[in-house]
Symmetry: C2
Subunit: 351 residues, 2 copies
């Protein structure tokens, strides 16, 4: 490997000034240089495999063209498509993403944000937001453009791109009610997250719309969006609500946990209990039975979040906004009409 090629060295080789070379390297300013000279420079640059140093440019222009993305956990299957959407949109404008998995721990998240800011990211996309998020305050105080994705926060201080959670729950409740279910239990996610909170609200609203609110609303709170939490919650459902014929989980993993619990009790899905999930994560169609769920447009969420950021960075005066994408019901095998007396039989067995 010979000496690293730079603007200055390239200029020396060609006998022109480095600023002339610089103008040619940027398509925006190329027209300032005579075609003849530009061509000569371009040819020589290609010959040496010259690649402008974007770090130097970033220092000079104070624009890194890097967007920081903070995720709780990339192995959660909702995030890869969001990330892909973000990247697709960023790349079109010459930006790249630095991705950081920060978990749900606040101290760790703060450390990660500090790292990203020290690296001079032009903007931040947070997939970690809670309804009342101290980290967000920290980001805002630092002055970076920030957008949340997947989850929103209550005070609406920043723009967010989210799923319409209330609509998703309406679709699910409508579906179950249409099948004839009257006694539906909701497995609720963390109430600190907009997703958990709004899905719970959406459940209550939709149940009321069907006149199913009279009986005390049946809701079991889950400690996390995990299969194990779903299994435990389903145990609670079976013990506490013997009349239940359907479970509407706030998340697919919770729904899959219900499968585990039902199987352990020798109960069949959907004959003995309908189960509906939320997210339509990959392979939700391959589990047994294939999971009826609410499809969320994660890729599009990423694209929208990145576009919001890019417009802001290009001084397009976009105000704060919440972009709410419409979800879709995906009918599969885990939901069916309640069997006459299914719940009753279960209750008898439990007694």
């Amino acid at each position: 490997m010979q000496q690293k090629m730079t603007l200055k060295r390239l200029a020396a080789v060609l006998g022109v000034h480095s600023s002339t070379v610089g103008r040619v390297m940027d398509p925006q300013t190329r027209h300032m240089v005579s075609e003849e000279v530009a061509e000569r420079i371009l040819r020589e640059a290609a010959l040496h495999g010259y690649r402008p140093n974007k770090i130097a440019a970033a220092l000079r222009t104070r624009r890194s063209n890097i967007v920081g993305v903070m995720l709780p956990d990339i192995t959660n299957p909702v995030f890869p498509p969001i990330l892909l959407g973000i990247e697709d949109a960023l790349r079109k404008q010459g930006y790249v993403a630095i991705v950081a998995n920060a978990g749900e721990d606040r101290a760790q998240q703060r450390f990660v944000v500090d790292q990203l800011l020290a690296r001079q990211v032009d903007a931040l996309i947070l997939a970690t937001a809670t309804r009342d998020d101290a980290i967000l305050d920290y980001c805002l105080a630092s002055g970076v453009t920030t957008v949340t994705v997947n989850r929103g926060e209550d005070t609406r201080r920043v723009s967010s791109v989210v799923n319409d959670e209330v609509e998703g729950m309406r679709l699910a409740v409508d579906h179950l009610a249409q099948l004839g279910h009257r006694h539906i239990v909701h497995l609720a996610g963390s109430q600190d997250l907009s997703t958990g909170h709004l899905r719970r609200e959406g459940f209550m609203t939709a149940m009321a719309a069907h006149g199913l609110q009279e009986e005390a609303l049946c809701i079991v709170d889950c400690s996390s969006y995990s299969r194990e939490a779903g299994r435990l919650a389903c145990e609670t459902v079976l013990a506490r609500y013997p009349g239940a014929t359907a479970i509407l989980a706030a998340n697919d993993l919770l729904a899959l946990g219900c499968y585990d619990s039902l199987r352990a009790h020798g109960l069949r899905c959907p004959q003995d209990m309908s189960v509906v999930g939320h997210n339509d994560m990959p392979f939700a169609d391959l589990v047994d039975p294939p999971l009826t769920t609410i499809r969320i447009r994660h890729h599009e969420m990423g694209v929208q979040a990145a576009q919001l950021i890019l417009r802001r960075l290009q001084d397009d005066p976009v105000g704060e906004m919440e972009i709410r994408l419409k979800p879709e019901l995906v009918l599969r095998g885990s939901s069916a009409a309640p069997r006459a007396g299914a719940a009753g039989l279960r209750a008898a067995a439990a007694a």
Copy 2:
């Protein structure tokens, strides 16, 4: 937001020289400054929320502390845990990753590598390698430290961290042979990829070890690691190898495609056909039937790849090497002893 704090401005506020402040900000050089002064500087820095500009430092030191990671597709479930492993290891040393999904297209990959190099990444981790990879030549020519992960390449010009594919196939064939299967068909992945190639080789070796190589080896090539390719390949198996009692797929998605095909033919797994996958991707235990497969330690692969890179960057003279992690057989419900005459019945039905 007040004016951005810099070393120089901080120094001016304190009435010291900026180089003194600089020395204090770096724990490595802090000892060069008197404790009293250092403390005063640290206090003032904290007061202003001063955060050293790493882009400026990177330009000066010619070390960005950024590692570029090129993936074919983050939504393929093998990559998130690899990425998590990479990030975990990098973070411990103050590095971050720029992740780029480049697909399998060579031109696109080259574009992505150019982007990463222009951003002065200190090293590159490629999860996109093919057995004969032109992009790798390109990376080497540029002089960046490069390591491949998950996939290796034939010439061994760079270090790689991979799964022991031959061993994985041995485990799978041993398992099926022990169950009594004699007629096992392998669904092979792309022979341009080390994974596809070595699993095929491993299959042949393991079959020979069981004395099952006499009959022409039964292998169906698949165009990609996808569920649809698996479905098509299974159709071929059913048509071409009526005596087959087990399918050993080079990848879990291929195995799940077999499920689709078997179901369409009214065949049961494992009673009519055993199916074994490869990867143990998330939720492989939740499909119907739960998939017997080979577990690959993806997270560890990421950690090892990053550590190799970090040692190189710290001028530890690590030579080129191939790190091969041992896989593990995960027994689940998709494999069982062949039913006496199962294949024969199928053959009769097909006739």
